[in-house]
Symmetry: C2
Subunit: 143 residues, 2 copies
């Protein structure tokens, strides 16, 4: 067994998460995830995985058919001593397609444990882009 | 101005959230929400609201057309001194329709501030119920 990777901050975990997604290696990707039973991942397809083995399987099946590159922008973040939450907007670049896909709305939960920070939960869902633009323009008008 | 409501725990906030959703009063519902700028709400329609006023408007427009009763089941929870995260499955009962709607996957983030605990973020998305059942039965077979 190799020594577990230690992440000093939620940002380190997050940066590593996106790098490993781009590499397309599900087993390596699991090093950012906490191995506790409650660890969870909700994909934008509406599938929820609980625990490291099902989460790993789901990413393996994604990487089996495509490559992914993610552009993430932080929208909100909350930081505690043992827990941190980052909410982001993600744009996806899928395979060789130069057109951006998404956006996704993503809530990442990080926890601090024996080996530093890890990802406890990723909840991703598809944004309704057109409707969102309408909401924001009406909000600018009304408020 | 009336005295702000004080919630002693994330569970108290959550219980109040579901009671106030069932009452259908958006202004009352906002008493469970933190009034910080980063407070956010992602609806299962793929719309994201940032800040108390847009969040309140969105619930007001939901309550204007229907009544909602939510059955929530906790799936995972993480508790820190200042932050807490509950991940839940929600079943909705809409108007007079006796059939359950959903399920939704929901990540609630709670924060402790000057007036006790408040809801900082609600991220709700639609579950793909049929596909989820297939994932779970294949997972039972394989692992």
């Amino acid at each position: 067994m190799s020594k577990p990777v230690t992440y000093a901050s939620p940002d380190d975990v997050e940066q590593s998460f996106y790098q490993l997604v781009a590499r397309g290696d599900a087993d390596l990707l699991m090093q950012v995830w906490s191995d506790e039973e409650e660890s969870l991942c909700v994909h934008p397809t509406g599938i929820r995985l609980l625990g490291l083995a099902p989460i790993c399987d789901s990413w393996r099946s994604i990487f089996a058919t495509t490559t992914l590159r993610v552009q993430a922008e932080t929208v909100a973040r909350w930081q505690g001593g043992m827990l941190a939450i980052h909410h982001l907007t993600e744009i996806l670049f899928v395979g060789d397609d130069p057109n951006p896909h998404g956006p996704l709305y993503v809530t990442h939960v990080y926890g601090r444990g024996a080996h530093g920070w890890r990802l406890l939960s990723r909840h991703a869902s598809a944004a309704d882009d057109r409707h969102q633009a309408r909401v924001e323009s009406s909000s600018l008008t009304l408020h």
